[in-house]
């Protein structure tokens, strides 16, 4: 390599350009985050609600909470509700690792305890609904499934939620209550993926929530079973300690607990607490 002055300057400008490029790339990518983050805390100081409320909610709440979010945005113009629906444990784990969220609504007391044990929630979580299990079968129930015991028939492809997720824990509880042993073809990571397997006709049946069967419309049939009474999940909701928009978050929780919220939730198949 030659060592002329020209090369040296080339090198230096090259370094500078590279550094500048890297910096600008970083700042360009992060600027959108910082602007949205900075806009929400300013809202909490004023009495009038505004800004974004971030709600982490169990996958089974998807339909009813999405509808309640629209109600909230209509009632408080200038606000926006963004949802993160998923397995309650995934959500709890991301909250305890510092994910920016205002409200957590989980599908079991156990997953809520992960958050409260980490002292990430404000006050005591309140149970706002309960949910019961149901068997989802193919449309028309071609396998003639009428009870939980029917699922143990050989040749039947049944999917359950994994034991770490609330719907899986509840299914195990119901199976234990019925003194049944069931070997599924898969332990799914959340209730919606279990339901999808039946909707796509890959599995013959899944143990999911009543609300999921209702939300799937005609794509699956629901079969109630008595053992589900032993495994009713309570859904707690809580305001989070590091909520960027606590005022609006409180209003959203109030809406969920109000008569109007109850109406939407029971219409989706949830039971009153």
């Amino acid at each position: 390599m030659t060592r002329t002055a020209r090369r040296r300057t080339l090198k230096l400008t090259g370094t500078a350009t590279a550094a500048l490029l890297a910096l600008s790339a970083l700042s360009a990518c992060s600027s959108s985050d910082s602007s949205s983050a900075s806009s929400s805390p300013s809202a909490s100081s004023s009495a009038k609600l505004s800004g974004t409320v971030t709600v982490f909610a169990a996958a089974s709440l998807k339909e009813s909470f999405t509808s309640l979010g629209k109600t909230f945005e209509a009632a408080y113009p200038g606000t926006k509700v963004t949802f993160n629906f998923g397995g309650s444990d995934t959500l709890a784990a991301s909250i305890t690792s510092g994910a920016p969220a205002d409200v957590f609504a989980s599908a079991s007391a156990k997953t809520m305890a992960i958050v409260t044990d980490a002292k990430d929630a404000v006050g005591t979580p309140v149970t706002f609904v309960r949910n019961q299990l149901e068997i989802a079968t193919l449309p028309g129930n071609p396998d003639k499934i009428t009870s939980l015991k029917d699922l143990t028939k050989s040749g039947l492809k049944v999917v359950l939620c994994d034991k770490t997720v609330p719907c899986g824990a509840a299914a195990q509880k119901a199976l234990t209550a019925g003194n049944l042993k069931l070997t599924p073809v898969s332990y799914e990571q959340d209730v919606k993926s279990a339901l999808t397997k039946v909707e796509l006709k890959e599995a013959d049946a899944a143990v999911v929530y009543k609300t999921d069967v209702k939300a799937a419309g005609g794509k699956v049939d629901g079969v109630e079973f008595p053992e589900s009474a032993n495994a009713i999940n309570e859904y707690p909701i809580a305001l989070l300690k590091d909520a960027p928009n606590a005022t609006a978050a409180k209003a959203f929780i109030a809406l969920v607990e109000s008569a109007e919220g109850k109406k939407v939730l029971t219409a989706a198949g949830f039971l009153n607490p």
């Binding site: 390599m1 030659t2 002329t4 020209r6 090369r7 080339l10 090198k11 230096l12 090259g14 370094t15 350009t17 590279a18 550094a19 890297a22 397995g87 444990d89 995934t90 784990a93 492809k157 999917v159 994994d162 770490t164 997720v165 599924p184 073809v185 898969s186 332990y187 799914e188 990571q189 993926s193 397997k197 796509l200 006709k201 890959e202 599995a203």
Partner: protein, 276 residues
């Protein structure tokens, strides 16, 4: 800017030993290295070393690791059998719409793996376009089976092999094959006896890439093959589900996967990938 480069290029062999590493390359290179290594360091630092023996002696870990290694190796074999001829077709033949075919073949690279899994279900599932026929004719259903894991991993990993082999084929001189054919070899014989040995390093590199991608596959596998311990629960699935309830176990599992990957990749790289 072109002039100094040309000069440097001509003088390089003579001065290679003494020339310093240029700063515009060194700084980003070091930053890049730190960026890639730092998260791994985080994993190592947060590893619950005292709990490790307890975590690693659970049979579930070895079951998942064994399944991962078998499935990734089978998927690589599938990629080799189908991918090398495909790469040859793309590099050595002319046909209308070749550009489109190449784009379609590499699609799994950009497709979110979960979407890939759903696409596989729609095509090869019990109720899929091809899967329905497979079920009726042979009684074969792929979802929820170890074969399904192999299919999902091969789907995601094959583009890596195809791209790598196609690149090597394009760089290899086609005149060797032409010479073989003028001497009476058929096109297939020329491929087998001349081309294959010529591009062996590229095939090896592609296989290693495909194997590594298959080993870490998560989205397509859990969507297409489901999650059942010993049958379809590979290491990444076990790590993900352990993360839900027991982060310490998840870190321990990740560490095992990491060590095995490093051992295999380092071993293969030294043997194959540094070949000229």
């Amino acid at each position: 800017m072109t002039e100094p480069v040309l000069v440097a290029g001509r003088k390089q062999p003579r001065q290679r030993r003494r020339s310093p590493v240029p700063l515009p390359l060194l700084l980003p290179a070091l930053l890049g290295m730190a960026f890639l290594v730092l998260p791994l360091a985080g994993l190592l630092i947060r590893t619950p070393w005292s709990e490790l023996p307890h975590q690693l002696t659970s049979p579930g870990v070895w079951q998942a690791l064994r399944l991962s290694l078998i499935a990734a190796t089978c998927a690589t074999a599938v990629c080799l059998v189908l991918g090398v001829p495909l790469a040859w077709l793309l590099a050595r033949t002319e046909f209308p719409g070749r550009g489109l075919v190449r784009a379609l073949v590499t699609l799994p690279l950009v497709l979110p793996p979960v979407v890939g899994g759903v696409a596989l279900l729609l095509a090869l599932g019990r109720n899929g376009i091809v899967g329905r026929w497979l079920d009726e004719a042979f009684g074969v259903t792929l979802p929820f089976t170890t074969a399904g894991v192999v299919v999902a991993e091969a789907f995601v990993a094959m583009p890596f092999l195809v791209i790598s082999v196609e690149g090597t084929l394009r760089a290899a001189d086609p005149r060797y094959e032409e010479a073989a054919m003028t001497l009476g070899a058929s096109r297939f014989t020329a491929f087998r006896r001349v081309t294959l040995p010529l591009i062996a390093p590229g095939i090896a590199a592609g296989s290693v890439l495909a194997w590594a991608r298959a080993l870490g596959e998560f989205g397509a596998t859990i969507t297409f093959a489901g999650n059942f311990p010993g049958r379809t629960q590979t290491m990444p699935l076990a790590v993900y589900l352990a993360l839900q309830s027991d982060p310490a176990a998840a870190i321990a599992l990740s560490l095992v996967l990491l060590l095995v990957s490093i051992a295999v990749l380092a071993g293969l790289r030294d043997r194959w990938m540094t070949a000229p």
